[in-house]
């Protein structure tokens, strides 16, 4: 197990380095002179020169990357061109808000998605199975922004049950919790169909295995066959997908945060792109990607814990 963890950790190093290189290159892929693009077409030459120096664009590219990497490793991601604040400060605050949203969405999507998949598989070909799978297929095709807008229209505008947008405060306050409901409902709702479909197909496969037949043959109640024998094995691919779905959650958070004016990483990134605040763009994307890599790493570890066959490979 230790060897597996050590090897998996080592394999993450080149990925993180590559990720940082790609994020670093964002600025250098800008058509033309990035400093002029940031300063705008009418900016005086000294302003452009200032930005060039500030971003280190007057240095050789390898030097620039080395400086970027070593600064990033020390938590220094530069300064925002607009607010002049440290990027790490702006990104840290937004990251915590995104984390709050993503965890809330993850928890509720698991609480809904997995039971639906289990029930659909346990009652295969029943009305519930057919209805839930058709709904899941329809749900997979709905654009997340429309789900968000409709949730806002129904629960905030028409019924007036929930606040329309923004973050009301820390999650442990009533206002904070109420403001979290709609964005989390939207973001988690998008994940439910895929989770339900996968849980169903994975459980159906487990239910067709010999050990399930044996359990049934010895007279075990169907509920126990599903819960004790099939479900544990069916959960292995589901765990992987739960990890991979964090990509969808982080991506979906960009849209959800924009709709509900939630002050997270996604909204910060989109605003920064539109205002050409490149250090913020780089900071938000780097943090999102590193978070995703870390989640994948943790998923692999969890997978190894759940499936003993992986330990020594």
């Amino acid at each position: 197990m230790r060897v597996y963890i050590a090897r998996r950790l080592l394999l993450t190093v080149p990925t993180i380095l590559g990720t940082s290189l790609l994020v670093f290159l964002i600025l250098h892929l800008v058509p033309g002179d990035p400093a002029s693009v940031i300063a705008g077409p009418t900016a005086p030459a000294d302003v452009v020169a200032n930005i060039r120096t500030q971003l280190g664009l007057d240095q050789p590219i390898l030097v620039q990357y080395w400086r970027y990497l070593s600064s990033a490793l020390h938590g220094d991601l530069g300064r925002s061109i607009l607010s002049r604040r440290q990027v790490s400060d702006e990104v840290a605050g937004a990251f915590l808000n995104t984390l709050e949203l993503v965890i809330a969405a993850r928890v509720w999507s698991l609480l809904i998605g997995i039971p639906i998949g289990v029930l659909a598989a346990a009652r295969r070909r029943s009305i519930f199975d057919k209805l839930s799978m058709v709904t899941a297929l329809l749900g997979l095709s709905l654009p997340i922004f429309w789900i968000g807008l409709m949730a806002m229209w129904l629960f905030a505008v028409k019924l007036g049950w929930l606040p329309i947008s923004g973050r009301g405060g820390p999650i442990w306050t009533g206002a904070g919790l109420l403001h979290l409901v709609l964005p989390a409902l939207t973001l988690g709702g998008v994940q439910v169909p895929a989770l339900a479909r996968l849980t169903r197909s994975s459980l159906l496969e487990a239910l067709s295995q010999d050990y399930v037949r044996t359990a049934r043959a010895k007279g075990l109640a169907e509920r126990l066959v599903v819960a004790k024998h099939a479900l544990k094995n069916a959960m292995l691919p589901v765990v992987t997908v739960i990890g991979l779905q964090f990509a969808g959650l982080l991506g979906g958070a960009v849209v959800t945060e924009t709709i509900f004016s939630w002050p997270g990483l996604g909204r910060l990134a989109v605003t920064a792109i539109l205002t050409r605040d490149f250090p913020i763009v780089q900071g938000t994307i780097l943090v999102s990607a590193v978070t995703f890599v870390t989640i994948n790493l943790l998923t692999d570890f969890l997978y190894a814990v759940l499936d003993p066959r992986i330990k020594y490979t």
Binding site: L137, L138, P143, F145, I285
Partner: protein, 287 residues
């Protein structure tokens, strides 16, 4: 001497076509897509009005006989804009998937055939996969600048790693088969083996992934436009139209709803067809 070692995929997929035809859902998806393609081609004939004609006196009308799906804040006919938007969305999907497929399949073939280039290609793909797809697209748009053309490129590049991995794994498995060995023994070059054996056998998963990727690409491009990073006004693009309706959601929810439903229909159609193709081309995957 002609190399005639036969590979299984060289035979026509008549069984697959039969299975696909019997699948009502995927046939419905295919029919819907055929209709959408016709709408896109004949948009000027189908659309009741000019999609960018501003008529402030007719602004924000709910659905009526004159405007079946109502009008937006500039009095533009929403149905006409949706009809023209079909062109944009299908084109965006085709070009983005074309970029993903073209680059991805080429890199996958090279990685599968060249032991020297395999690791570097897969390492780069792993880095690209370390970005959630929409964030990778956002990163690329950040560099290239907002706009529908750059959004297409961004979504296409985001799709490359998936195509590369599928093609590579197919190539690795196919190149070890007996018929490839036989072809090699008969003196076939790598290029001929790729053309005659690897590509036809790798085609099935690539067709499935391409169809499903169309759904993903159209959705991703619509999301970019919704965020203001894709299509710019006054272009009739569904994601941008939904974004314009965002501020009006309290009183005029139809402005954002109809373009969103158009996205839903096209994405669902591609998903249904993709699912059907997957089951037809690889019945083992069917649960």
């Amino acid at each position: 001497m002609a190399v005639t070692a036969e590979s299984p995929a060289a035979r026509p997929h008549s069984d697959a076509w039969g299975r696909l035809r019997r699948d009502g859902a995927s046939m419905a998806g295919a029919a819907c897509l055929a209709a959408l393609v016709l709408i896109a081609i004949f948009a000027p004939l189908v659309a009741p009005q000019d999609p960018i004609r501003v008529a402030m006196r007719e602004r924000l009308q709910t659905p009526s006989r004159a405007h079946w799906l109502g009008t937006d804040q500039f009095g533009r006919d929403i149905l006409s804009r949706i009809v023209y938007g079909t062109r944009v969305s299908l084109t965006v999907g085709l070009i983005a998937v074309g970029i993903g497929l073209g680059l991805g399949a080429t890199l996958g073939l090279v990685a599968g055939f060249s032991r020297r280039l395999d690791y570097p290609i897969i390492a780069v793909m792993d880095v690209l996969l370390s970005f959630p797809q929409i964030l990778l697209a956002i990163a690329i748009v950040a560099a290239l600048g907002p706009g529908i053309f750059n959004a297409m490129i961004a979504v296409g590049i985001g799709a490359v790693p998936g195509f590369t991995r599928i093609t590579r794994s197919s190539t690795l498995s196919i190149r070890e088969r007996d018929y490839v060995e036989a072809a090699r023994a008969l003196g076939a070059t790598s290029g001929r083996i790729i053309r005659r054996h690897v590509l036809p056998n790798a085609a099935a998963p690539l067709i499935v992934i391409s169809t499903l990727s169309m759904a993903g690409a159209i959705l991703a491009a619509a999301i970019l436009s919704f965020l203001g990073l894709g299509a710019r006004p006054p272009m009739a693009e569904w994601g941008a139209m939904a974004a314009e309706g965002r501020g009006l959601i309290a009183q005029y929810p139809h402005v954002a709803t109809f373009p969103s439903l158009a996205i839903f229909v096209v994405v669902l159609a591609f998903n249904l067809l993709g699912d059907g193709l997957r089951d037809a081309l690889d019945p083992q995957l069917e649960d």
